[in-house]
Symmetry: C2
Subunit: 201 residues, 2 copies
DNA sequence: ACCTGAACACCGTTCAAGT
DNA sequence: ACCTGAACACCGTTCAAGT
């Protein structure tokens, strides 16, 4: 039974998160924005971390739903794969604070969070498997290949958010570029594996 | 002139960071451990964030030094590349709180931090360039290829620290595995590019 | 130049009490 | 069941003052 107050609190919290980052999300300011006393949240969440975990779970679920929608909508496996990777990037770059929160350190791993994480992971694995069958990605363990792809997207976004990518000022190596690079190399490797590898020095 | 107190404060802070994470690093506890009053830090750092930035800069510099040492020590370009990637992984997995701190959100990007980041980046680019010449990595923009490699290591470590890798319990897809996978695919792609690519459906 | 004690504003959390 | 006001312990930061 998601009470009205609970939803209002979550709305206020996510607004503060987007506007001022994690530090701006204080239980007192959240309560004030929601129009309740500063300790009303404790009737809906055991903890401040529980409130943050609820936000993270919702966001991770949203991402999973977007990925699933792409899988249904796009026609070709190649487009599904590329669009899925780009959805991850766009989401993270649009809501960096949510991205940092979702993949932050959780001393208490909420069950709800784990479920949402597994759900979006399953969709990704499905997309990768289809791409493998279409000859766009190398064959083999789909879980492991999915981990490879997710690690790259995740790392590219994280480095981009800190400014560790393209410090030269020139629009060098955006997360989207790196995703395309990886997909390109993997496609080449896929096609090469069936052919003999030449001798090396 | 790095005063003795300043060094003691940094030591205490990094100890607290490793022991209890970022939240455990309070200026008051740091001061107490250093044997000074709770506001003595303000004579050595303008801010709490400045103290954290100093730690991050030292760590990033340490990483860069380790990478440079590997480049000098290892004989073959292949070993240098692999060892460098593993050094990044080992450092991050051994000191997760330092890793999170170094690549955390910096509202104030200290000059010292930017210098340290560029230094370790330069070493990495150098290693990648050598590996390219040795035919271990695809030719082309070394900066961009370095970004690809760094993004993968970074993302793999980050996901591993949250537990988003190998949630099945089986020792599936460690960061080291993903690094090896990527290097393997890139080597195949390198050798394949000189040969004709077969028609696709 | 470096350090201290008191003080301020803010935060998470708890508790007794109200409806 | 849900909310409130007062209170507690803790934190970052500032300031006047000491050597």
């Amino acid at each position: 039974m998601p009470s009205q107050t609970r939803a209002t609190l979550l709305d206020a919290a996510i607004h503060l998160l987007d506007a001022g980052g994690l530090d701006a999300v204080t239980l007192r300011e959240v309560s004030h924005r929601a129009g309740v006393s500063h300790n009303a949240p404790y009737k809906h969440f055991t903890d401040k971390e529980a409130l943050l975990a609820a936000i993270a779970a919702v966001e991770l679920q949203r991402l999973g739903t977007s990925l699933a929608a792409i899988r249904e909508r796009e026609p070709s496996p190649a487009e599904v794969l590329r669009a899925a990777m780009r959805e991850y990037v766009t989401w993270a770059m649009t809501y960096p604070a949510r991205f940092k929160l979702v993949f932050g350190v959780w001393t208490t791993g909420t069950e709800e969070l784990a479920v949402a994480a597994n759900a979006s992971r399953t969709v990704l694995i499905d997309i990768v498997t289809i791409a493998q069958r279409a000859g766009l990605l190398p064959p083999g363990d789909s879980d492991r290949l999915t981990a490879l792809l997710q690690a790259l997207v995740h790392g590219a976004v994280d480095l981009a958010l800190i400014g560790h990518l393209s410090p030269g000022g020139k629009g060098h190596a955006s997360p989207e570029d790196l995703v395309d690079d990886l997909l390109g190399y993997l496609r080449i490797a896929t096609n090469a594996e069936s052919r003999p590898v030449p001798e090396r020095l």
